[in-house]
């Protein structure tokens, strides 16, 4: 018999599943987590809240990857260059100490002042950046270091040289390498997680997402330009894409929403880092208890399940009155 404690969230979940929006719900985890996740989902974000997430995710004072690296980790040793062609400052990589153990870090890095922003190419990596990331993944694998990635980029750089140097292939191979690793992999979405540029370092065991971050297949502007044929319809596109943390949790693509200080992470970066650090520590502990082969198997199974579709033969007949 399920205890009262257990029944309550389960009942709520089945009730929530009845809503058309929640057909894709894949809530998992222990009771405590389940309850927290359900609390999040009970109120659906309004259109205004979704657009506010987009704005906060891109806020110029929002903490970037290195702001978290600095606050959360000790002895950060930055590693540069892909050992073939170039150094790409849009993606930072390195080793660091976290909670008494060495971890590998890969983060998309935007810049704050004009010079820094140009140097970082606004956080848009070239293939060289992803190849540098793969080099660090290999180090992590060899030495058994867990890998933590930070997602915060408008996307992979859409330039001539990036194409000539194999942008698509680099993104594919970076994911393929992540599918092979047997060390724990955690992604933290701290700002904009956009498109292939994000998923290149986002094929992981657990995804943590800050409450005002966004995660999307395309930027609202890009989507508006294609589907509405007008980039100015970005708010409509954002609302349709549902890139906010609550919808991502409902759709089962992230594992946990990490709280931010009231008003957004930019108002108190130290507190935002503390909150993210707590979630990261707990998640890593969980993953470190799982043997590497099993971890990889679970990771593959996780993505095997991704997506929502139907088989025609099981299609329910249209109900009268609809």
């Amino acid at each position: 018999m399920a205890s009262e404690d257990e029944r309550h969230p389960r009942e709520r979940m089945s009730r929530l599943r009845g809503l058309p929006l929640l057909r894709g719900t894949r809530l998992t985890g222990d009771l405590e987590k389940l309850r927290k996740q359900l609390d999040r989902i009970e109120t659906e974000p309004s259109d205004e809240e979704i657009w506010r997430s987009v704005e906060l995710a891109r806020h110029s004072q929002r903490p970037y990857s290195l702001d978290y690296v600095e606050r959360l980790f000790d002895d950060f040793l930055e590693l540069h260059g892909d050992r073939a062609r170039a150094e790409d400052p849009a993606l930072v990589t390195g080793l660091a100490r976290f909670q008494g153990r060495t971890i590998a870090v890969i983060g998309q890095q935007k810049g704050r002042e004009l010079n820094e922003r140009t140097k970082r190419n606004f956080g848009m990596a070239h293939p060289e950046g992803y190849r540098k990331g793969m080099r660090v993944m290999e180090i992590a694998q060899r030495h058994g270091f867990p890998l933590v990635t930070f997602l915060d980029s408008p996307g992979a750089y859409p330039g001539v040289a990036a194409e000539q140097h194999g942008q698509g292939g680099a993104i594919a191979r970076s994911q393929a390498l992540m599918a092979r690793l047997t060390v724990p992999l955690v992604a933290c979405i701290i700002g904009e997680g956009n498109s292939g540029g994000a998923i290149a370092i986002g094929l992981v065991d657990r995804v943590l997402m800050q409450e005002n971050a966004i995660y999307s297949v395309i930027s609202p502007e890009g989507c508006a330009a294609i589907l509405w044929r007008d980039g100015a319809e970005k708010v409509k596109a954002a609302v349709a894409l549902k890139p906010d943390a609550v919808h991502c949790l409902e759709l089962g693509v992230i594992d946990e929403i990490v709280d931010e200080p009231k008003g957004g992470a930019h108002l108190n970066p130290d507190e935002a880092a503390r909150m993210l650090g707590n979630a990261l520590a707990k998640t890593l502990d969980e993953l470190l208890a799982i043997p590497g082969d099993e971890l990889r198997e679970q990771r593959r199974a996780r993505y095997r399940r991704a997506g929502i579709f139907s088989a025609r033969s099981q299609e329910p007949a249209l109900q009268p009155g609809h």
């Binding site: 058309p20 001539v160 998923i199 094929l203 297949v217 294609i226 890139p243 997506g307």
Partner: protein
């Protein structure tokens, strides 16, 4: 003395709109302007006999072109897209899918199944650009995964023929998840030591290029195919860079080392037969 100026604006006004843009008849060659009956073009594998331009090929016709007669056994044809986001742009997503199903006769943008190519058994996954721009949503991702599983089960190589504008925006973040999903499927295939030949046709871009299509043991492309993560128009608009004439084309990709060969359509079938024999390693 100035020449008298003749005002031609009225004549231009009366020209039909379609004559001055690229909305030509689908059987008119954009390369040389030759026009063909549909059966003429089909008989020549939809390659222009005059200039060699490769016209698009629909999924089922591609399967006919490549496989030994009567060998293709379709799998997972019952899969259909859902509308998990309740997506609505200028039209509802459900309406777009229904329309694509009717106009293409397909369930989604990919057809998979067992096949034999020049006596070599394989698993075949073919994309169709006419179904919503060959975009990859949950169904395409699932079909690619099932194709990989079927290849592993049958211990045969996988052949994919891609034609795609990228991830399907109408399924939002779930479409992005099809990138890692298909990448994991290819990794399973590699673990099982099944060969994987990726044939890229025009266009293979964005999410499909940035996932399974780029992971073939052998990657080949048709002549003139656009293979780019970001297409020329967006690159131009975003960066204002001057684009090389062959930007993103198969020929440029070959030069930069991203693909193994360019194979004209007429040679594709024997090429696949030969490759499949090599991966079979005398078994």
């Amino acid at each position: 003395m100035a020449e008298p100026r003749i005002d031609v604006s009225i004549e231009h006004k009366n020209l039909p709109e379609s004559s001055n843009d690229d909305k030509k008849h689908p059987n008119t060659c954009p390369g040389c302007g030759s026009h063909y009956r549909d059966d003429e073009l089909a008989g020549n594998l939809r390659v222009c006999p005059q200039c060699g331009h490769h016209f698009p090929v629909r999924g089922r016709e591609r399967i006919e072109q490549l496989t030994d007669k009567g060998t293709f056994e379709e799998e997972a044809s019952d899969l259909r897209s859902e509308d998990p986001l309740g997506f609505f742009d200028l039209r509802p997503y459900t309406e777009r899918i229904a329309e694509a199903e009717i106009s293409t006769g397909l369930g989604d943008a990919m057809v998979i199944g067992r096949a034999v190519i020049e006596k070599q058994p394989c698993e075949l996954a073919v994309m169709d650009f006419s179904f919503m721009g060959g975009s990859m949503g949950s169904v395409v991702g699932e079909k690619l995964s099932r194709a990989a599983e079927s290849a592993i089960e049958g211990k045969v190589p996988l052949v994919t023929v891609t034609a795609s504008g990228g991830a399907r925006m109408q399924e939002g973040i779930l479409s992005l998840m099809q990138l890692p999903k298909t990448v994991c499927a290819v990794e399973d295939l590699r673990d099982a030591r099944c060969g994987f030949i990726s044939v890229m046709t025009h266009p293979t871009t964005a999410g499909v290029l940035a996932s399974f299509a780029s992971l073939g043991d052998v990657i080949v492309a048709e002549p003139g195919a656009l293979l780019a993560f970001t297409g020329p128009r967006v690159v131009q608009q975003t960066t204002r860079e001057k684009l090389p004439d062959d930007f993103g084309q198969a020929e440029s990709n070959l030069r930069f080392g991203h693909i193994d060969a360019i194979v004209p359509r007429g040679e594709l079938r024997p090429f696949l037969g030969r490759s499949l024999r090599l991966f079979r390693n005398g078994q």
